[in-house]
C-alpha cells in the first residue's frame, strides 16, 4: 500500500493504492486514522468530487474507495453481479481493519452495494446511511432506467441546480477523456445492473439489517423519486427517513444540511 496526497479542497485526502485480491483499488482517506471510520460508497459516477465529505473528516476517519471499474480503481476481472462487489468490500474492509464500528454511507449504486453488504456484514457496522439508493422495486413508483436516459439529459437530472455540477464538467461536451471515463463507469454499472436493475435480494433479506439506519433523499430527486424512501424504511427494521428540500439526486452535494445530518447520525 502506498500513500500519496490528493489535491486538496479544504481537506486533504490521501490516496491509498491497494491490491484487493488482484483488483488495483484506490481509497481516498482523510481525518484522524484513530477516529471512528466512515466509509462512503459512491454512485455510478465519480466525476462530481468529494467536497460533501470533507466536513466529516473533522470527527471521523473518512474512507472513500473507488469501486472496481470506477475512477482510479482497476477493473475486477470476472465481475458479474453486485455480490462480487460485496465480497470485494469484505476483502477491502479486512485489509483496512474495518471489523467493527464502521459507519457505512452508500449513495445511489453505492447505496445498493451498502445495503447488500449490510445484509451479510452487519456485525461490522455501527451505522448505515443509504443516500438515494438504487435497486429497490416499489410497486406504484415509476423509476426511469438509468441506461435509457440519454447522457445529455442525465447530467441535468442528477441535480436540482446545474451550478452544483458545472465545476466538474468539461468545457467541451465532447471531451474525449471525460466521455471515455463515463463510458467505463457506465459499462461497469451495466455489468451488474443491466439484466436486473431491480435487486432480487433486498426485499427478501433487508429485514436482517437491524443496524440503526438513516435513509436520505433529496426532495427534488428527478432520477430516483423520493417516494422510494418509505419503502426502504419499511423493509429496514431500524430505519428513519430524512428528506432535504431544494436538493436533487446528488443530495449530499447540494444540501450541506444533508451532509451534516449524515455526520450527526454517524456520531450519535
Amino acid at each position: 500500500m502506498t500513500t500519496t496526497p490528493v489535491a486538496p479542497g479544504s481537506v486533504t485526502f490521501d490516496r491509498l493504492d491497494l491490491d484487493v485480491n488482484g483488483t488495483p483499488t484506490v481509497v481516498l482517506a482523510a481525518g484522524d486514522p484513530a477516529a471512528p471510520p466512515v466509509v462512503f460508497l459512491h454512485g455510478a459516477g465519480t466525476f462530481h468530487g468529494w467536497a460533501f465529505a470533507e466536513p466529516w473528516a473533522a470527527q471521523f476517519r473518512v474512507l472513500i474507495p473507488h469501486h472496481p471499474g470506477f475512477g482510479d480503481s482497476g477493473d475486477l476481472e470476472g465481475l458479474h453481479e453486485v455480490h462480487d462487489l460485496v465480497i470485494h468490500y469484505v476483502d477491502l474492509f479486512d485489509r483496512l481493519g474495518l471489523t467493527a464500528d464502521v459507519r457505512l454511507v452508500g449513495f445511489s449504486l453505492g447505496g445498493l452495494i451498502a445495503a447488500r453488504f449490510a445484509i451479510e456484514q452487519k456485525h461490522r457496522l455501527q451505522r448505515l446511511v443509504l443516500v438515494a439508493p438504487t435497486g429497490l422495486r416499489v410497486p406504484g413508483v415509476e423509476v426511469d432506467d438509468l441506461f435509457t436516459i440519454p447522457p445529455e439529459q442525465l447530467v441535468g437530472r442528477l441535480v436540482h441546480r446545474m451550478d452544483t455540477l458545472l465545476p466538474h464538467l468539461p468545457s467541451d461536451p465532447h471531451d474525449v477523456d471525460f466521455n471515455v471515463d463515463r463510458y467505463r463507469e457506465t459499462r461497469t454499472a451495466a455489468i451488474v445492473l443491466w439484466d436486473h436493475p431491480f435487486d432480487r435480494v433486498l426485499p427478501r433479506w433487508l429485514g436482517r439489517v437491524d443496524t440503526p439506519t438513516l435513509v436520505v433523499w433529496g426532495e427534488e430527486d428527478r432520477l430516483l423519486p423520493p417516494a422510494l424512501a418509505p419503502a426502504w424504511a419499511e423493509l429496514l427494521p431500524n430505519a428513519t427517513v430524512a428528506t432535504f428540500p431544494e436538493a436533487g439526486h446528488l443530495v449530499l452535494d447540494e444540501s450541506p444540511e444533508a451532509s451534516a445530518a449524515v455526520a450527526k447520525f454517524c456520531a450519535d
Binding site: F147, P150, P151, H174, V176, N179, V180, Y183, R184, T186, R187, A189, A190, I191, W194, D195
Partner: protein
C-alpha cells in the same frame, strides 16, 4: 484461373420497410425506439412478397447466392428472423443461401445450430452462415447484456461448433450456457458443417477468432482503405493457424447500379442510396454503443472517428464504401479493380437499396447479371508488373 474471373457474386437484400411517416425526419433514430405503430402489416405483406420475388429473380439470373441478415426494432430490415426468410426461399431457388446472419448470443445457441441444420438439410446443402456480434442497437432490443455480449458470443460459437462437429449426446458447461444433453437433431448435410464466416469491423480479436476457427471474414462498416490492412492481417493470421488464405474467404460489400449510360445510372441510383444512408442507417451514438458493447479503448477510438451511420457526406460515403453507378463496362472496371486491390473475391452485392422501386431493382439486377458478371468472368488476372 484468376482472382477476378473466379469471383463469386452474392445478392444481398436488407428487406427494408420503406413506408416511413412524413415526419420521420424529426426523429434522431429510426432504430430501437422508432415506434412500431409506424409499421403497417399490409405494406409489410406487399414488401415481403416483392422482396422474395426479387431474390428468386436473382437466383434465376444465375447469381452465386442470396444473402440475408438480421436486425431488430428497425425499418432498416424486416428480417428479425432471417432463417424464416431463408426457409421461404429454399423451395424457390437453387443457389447458395447465406444467412449472414443471426447473432448467436441473442438466443440459445443449440437452437441456432438446429435452425441452420434444418436449412442445410431442407436445401440439400446450400447454406452458408456468418456469425455477427450484432450492432449495438440489437442489445437495446433484446434481453442480452451488452457488457457481456462478446464473451457470450464466443461461447455460443463454441456450442454451435460442438453441435456440428461432435456426435451427441454431449455435455457443455460454460459461463453462459449449460447443456446436459447437447444432441441436436437434425445434423447438417454439409460435413462437418456449412461454410462459416465471422462478421467483423476490423477488431483484432474478431480477426484472430475467424483465423483460429478457419472461418471466412465478412467485413462491414469500415473505410475501404482500412479494410485492405484488415484483410492482410486476417490472411496472415489464417496462415498462422494453418488455414489456406484463399480469396473467397473474404467477403466485402459493393453498392452498384447499372444503366445505359453513366449519367442515367447515377440519376436513377442516387436517391435510393442516399435514402439508405440518411434513413435506413439513421441512429444515435448511444444506440450504436450501449454500455460495454465495445471495450473502453475501442470506445475511445470510436468517439474520435467519423460515424458512418446517418452520414450524408458523399465524399465520406464513397471513401468508406464501394459504390459505383454507370455503364456495365464502368461497373465491371470498378469491381474488378476492387477485387484486385483486396486480393479477395467474394462479393456481397447491394443492387437493391433503400426505397428503390421494383422496376429499378429488376433492371439493375438483370443488367448486372447479364452485362457485368460476364465481363468480369471473361477477365484474366492482370499480369503482375515485373519490378526491375
Amino acid at each position: 484461373m484468376g482472382l477476378v474471373d473466379q469471383a463469386e457474386f452474392h445478392y444481398f437484400h436488407f428487406f427494408p420497410y420503406t413506408r416511413l411517416p412524413p415526419d420521420h425526419g424529426e426523429r434522431e433514430s429510426l432504430w430501437v425506439d422508432f415506434p412500431n405503430s409506424n409499421y403497417d402489416p399490409a405494406v409489410g405483406h406487399e414488401l415481403y412478397n416483392r422482396y422474395l420475388q426479387q431474390m428468386v429473380l436473382a437466383d434465376s439470373l444465375g447469381y452465386d447466392g442470396l444473402v440475408l441478415n438480421e436486425h431488430h426494432n428497425t425499418q432498416y430490415s424486416m428480417n428479425p428472423a432471417p432463417n424464416l426468410t431463408a426457409a421461404a426461399l429454399i423451395p424457390q431457388t437453387k443457389s447458395w443461401i447465406s444467412v449472414f446472419g443471426t447473432p448467436p448470443n441473442l438466443g440459445y445457441p443449440n437452437r441456432l445450430a438446429e435452425e441452420y441444420a434444418m436449412l442445410d438439410v431442407m436445401s440439400g446443402g446450400r447454406l452458408k452462415v456468418a456469425f455477427p456480434l450484432g450492432t449495438g442497437m440489437e442489445y437495446w432490443a433484446n434481453a442480452v447484456n451488452p457488457a457481456t455480449a462478446r464473451a457470450r458470443f464466443r461461447e455460443s460459437i463454441d456450442v454451435i461448433l460442438r453441435c456440428w462437429t461432435d456426435d451427441g449426446p454431449q455435455t457443455f458447461a460454460g459461463d453462459f450456457y449449460t447443456y446436459r444433453y447437447l444432441n441436436p437433431w437434425p445434423r447438417p448435410v454439409q460435413q462437418p458443417h456449412p461454410e462459416c464466416f465471422l462478421v467483423g469491423t476490423g477488431s483484432p480479436e474478431t480477426i484472430e477468432l475467424a483465423a483460429e476457427l478457419g472461418f471466412g471474414y465478412s467485413v462491414v462498416f469500415i473505410p475501404r482503405v482500412a479494410q485492405l490492412k484488415v484483410f492482410d492481417s486476417y490472411r496472415e493470421r489464417l496462415a498462422h493457424h494453418g488455414h489456406e488464405p484463399t480469396p473467397d474467404k473474404i467477403a466485402f460489400g459493393v453498392f452498384a447500379y447499372v444503366a445505359e449510360n453513366d449519367d442515367l445510372a447515377e440519376q436513377e441510383f442516387l436517391p435510393h442510396i442516399m435514402y439508405f444512408f440518411e434513413n435506413n442507417l439513421r441512429t444515435t451514438a448511444r444506440y450504436l454503443n450501449p454500455p460495454g458493447y465495445v471495450t473502453v479503448p475501442e470506445f475511445r477510438k470510436r468517439i474520435q472517428a467519423a460515424d458512418v451511420h446517418g452520414t450524408t457526406n458523399w465524399d465520406d460515403l464513397v471513401a468508406i464504401n464501394r459504390i459505383v453507378a454507370g455503364t456495365p463496362e464502368k461497373v465491371a472496371d470498378a469491381i474488378g479493380g476492387w477485387i484486385e486491390e483486396a486480393g479477395a473475391n467474394r462479393i456481397t452485392l447491394n443492387l437493391t437499396i433503400g426505397d428503390m422501386p421494383h422496376w429499378k431493382v429488376v433492371k439493375n439486377t438483370t443488367l448486372f447479371a447479364e452485362e457485368v458478371i460476364p465481363r468480369l468472368r471473361a477477365r484474366k488476372a492482370a499480369p503482375k508488373e515485373v519490378v526491375a
